[in-house]
């Protein structure tokens, strides 16, 4: 047999090659062939068996043979009771965890009756201003049996407080409440752009929550370190991985600086990735992510508990990959992306609905998206053996390459003094904008293809049903919030807000005062207003 080089110069040269650029969606060039020559490092050091350091082949010993991933569809729209009904529907269809989408005002720390909330209430998610809204949202959902993921960041401390009080009222102690709050503020400045205060006080609030959960709500994941939005903002796969791991590093450093032992909180850190169209790149990215985190936690932070080194993750198929053109094609995209996620070894998955590029999903569309996961889990057979791509020359070479390139970014960020400094100078923001623009140009030149958009497009499109949010919802919610504010004990509210202000100015952990405020029906917007006053407001520098 010939060596790889001989093969390239003889057999391959004589064969024909299509006149295209063979590169991943992130523009990483691929070799024509990967062979044993490309394998770096030994099996034990770089792969090892599932459930063993560095966890390249999966964090758990039996992976999906032990337990399938959690099917967690993102849901939220309109009033709390509208979303509650969707939750009950999804649970009745076999979904086993909840995932809550809040509307823009809630995400940005404004009550529904604030003037900045106009036109946005209940549109992109559910409107939650007060504890009463939260009670309605989780009506008749047993919080000790269902785990909930809440996608909220700068107002996460208030929403977590509300959730814990709802649990308390259901008679469930906090140490039995499980779930995740996204709460990844660093990625907000890099990509998702929902913030209240500047990076440093934001990081303090996140660290307060990590500390609080480690002590009082040990089954709760206080932060889900999220690459999802970094990718949606247009990053490459390597940038998604690098900036996300670097954000994680920053949270660990802060918590350690606070005096927490790494093994006391790191087992409850979780991750969230985007699963884009490039199948091989995505499988490799997830494997590289686990290995990087394991190595960093062990080598950099001296973690001893294996659970501190295990990167457990939720993933979502790429919203930005879906097209408004020929929307039914999105079902196929989502299925393939979900499959890459499963072959990459995720613990929890959200599949997008085909209509999400047009509106929030209809019940029919979300059902197809959920069924996609169920078909992958129960019909395709890819869950029958662990990490079936392990040992694939191409996948292993790509995993090594992605890890290497992402570590190169982390080295650069370290040189800049860490992620907070890098964010303040706009470095990750500009790198992502550059990548997004490069990809757009490739699309317009036809170097990259989006089926139905820049190739195989058709003039007429089949209309599909979309979910319409009734504008009357906003008025109802505004009236409801105003009524609640009139009827509560205003003295108790003022006292509670003063306590939160005081805690902001001292080193006291903010969670206890926030819990007390929420008990007294202080709202998301009112506590956020204290943050604005005490910590200042962050303004987008508008880097392009």
């Amino acid at each position: 047999m010939s060596s790889k080089r001989e093969w390239l110069e003889t057999t391959y040269k004589q064969a024909s090659e299509r006149p295209v650029r063979f590169s991943t969606i992130s523009d990483m060039e691929l070799a024509a062939l990967y062979t044993p020559d490309d394998a770096q490092g030994g099996y034990d050091e770089t792969l090892a068996n599932p459930g063993e350091y560095p966890y390249t082949r999966g964090v758990y010993g039996s992976m999906y043979r032990g337990r399938l991933w959690t099917m967690r569809q993102f849901a939220g729209f309109g009033l709390a009771e509208d979303t509650n009904a969707r939750f009950h529907y999804l649970l009745s269809q076999g979904q086993d965890g909840l995932s809550t989408a809040f509307d823009m005002p809630t995400l940005m720390g404004y009550d529904a009756d604030h003037e900045r909330a106009q036109g946005e209430v209940g549109r992109e998610g559910v409107s939650v201003s007060s504890l009463q809204d939260m009670v309605r949202l989780f009506d008749k959902i047993p919080l000790d049996r269902v785990t909930t993921s809440m996608t909220v960041n700068c107002s996460a401390s208030v929403l977590l407080a509300m959730y814990l009080i709802v649990a308390e009222r259901q008679g469930i102690p906090w140490d039995r409440v499980g779930g995740t709050i996204q709460n990844d503020m660093l990625k907000e400045f890099i990509a998702q752009k929902e913030w209240i205060c500047p990076p440093r006080p934001s990081l303090r609030i996140v660290t307060d929550m990590i500390e609080f959960c480690a002590r009082k709500a040990p089954r709760w994941h206080a932060v889900s370190i999220s690459g999802y939005h970094i990718r949606e903002a247009g990053s490459t796969a390597v940038q998604e991985l690098a900036f996300t791991i670097a954000d994680g590093l920053c949270y660990v450093e802060e918590a350690v600086r606070r005096g927490l032992a790494v093994d006391d909180f790191a087992p409850r850190l979780s991750f969230f990735w985007n699963i884009h169209n490039d199948f091989l790149e995505e499988v490799a990215k997830l494997r590289a992510a686990r290995r990087m985190w394991a190595r960093i936690m062990k080598e950099r932070f001296g973690a001893k508990n294996p659970r501190s080194m295990m990167l457990r993750t939720h993933a979502q198929t790429a919203g930005a990959s879906l097209t408004a053109q020929q929307p039914v094609n999105n079902v196929v995209r989502v299925a393939l992306q979900a499959m890459a996620g499963v072959l990459g070894g995720v613990q929890s998955l959200h599949t997008n609905s085909m209509d999400e590029t047009l509106a929030l999903p209809t019940e029919q569309a979300v059902t197809v998206a959920l069924r996609t996961q169920q078909i992958i889990a129960e019909e395709t057979g890819i869950t029958n053996t662990i990490d079936p791509f392990g040992g694939s020359y191409a996948i292993e070479a790509l995993t090594d390459r992605i890890e290497h390139d992402a570590m190169e970014y982390i080295r650069r960020l370290d040189e800049m003094g860490g992620m907070v400094q890098a964010i303040e100078t706009g470095y990750p923001q500009r790198e992502i904008a550059e990548a997004a623009f490069h990809y757009q140009r490739q699309l317009e030149k036809g170097i990259k293809t989006i089926v139905g958009v820049n190739k195989y497009s058709v003039p007429e499109e089949l209309p599909i049903d979309t979910l319409k949010i009734d504008p009357a919802i906003e008025e109802r919610q505004v009236q409801r919030v105003r009524k609640m504010k009139r009827e509560r004990n205003s003295l108790a509210v003022r006292e509670a807000l003063a306590r939160v202000s005081e805690a902001c100015r001292s080193n006291e952990n903010l969670m206890e005062p926030i819990l007390e405020a929420v008990r007294r029906e202080v709202t998301v917007g009112e506590i956020s207003e204290v943050f604005r006053t005490e910590f200042g407001v962050y303004r987008d520098p508008g880097w392009i």
Partner: protein, 134 residues
């Protein structure tokens, strides 16, 4: 005739943080030969109208994905008129259903670009449809 370089304000009204499209458009317009001012995120209609007047722009490109376009786009147009800048060409993009796009055109938005529009199309549209203000 030597054209004055057109000045365009690219703005993100409302609370929606999806600025990928706005930034791509801003860069494409700049590469297309226009002077571009990008306001950054979370702008109120007042902030946008004020910036348009201050910067003396010829056009304003609005990008929004949160669904608040029916509230915020007409408000920008109204406030521009109030400031004597009703001739500034307002165009927009984002996730905007066809019915809403039709209504927005009736309300004075010159053009609406939806997902899949190429930056070349947008640059071309500005070249053909936006004139320097007197």
């Amino acid at each position: 005739m030597a054209d004055k370089r057109l000045r365009i304000l690219v703005a993100k009204p409302g609370l929606d943080g999806h600025d990928r499209g706005a930034k791509i458009i801003a860069r494409a317009l700049r590469d297309g030969g226009f002077e571009v001012v990008y306001t950054g995120l979370h702008q109120t209609p007042e902030m946008i109208a004020e910036a348009a007047v201050q910067e003396d722009v010829d056009a304003v490109g609005l990008s929004i994905l949160s669904g608040a376009h029916m509230t915020l786009f007409p408000e920008v147009i109204k406030l521009l008129k109030q400031r004597g800048a009703g001739d500034v060409a307002v165009f927009g993009g984002g996730i905007i259903p066809d019915d809403d796009a039709t209504r927005l055109r009736e309300l004075g938005v010159r053009e609406i670009f939806t997902p899949g529009a190429s930056t070349e199309d947008i640059v071309k549209w500005v070249h053909e449809n936006v004139q320097a203000r007197q």
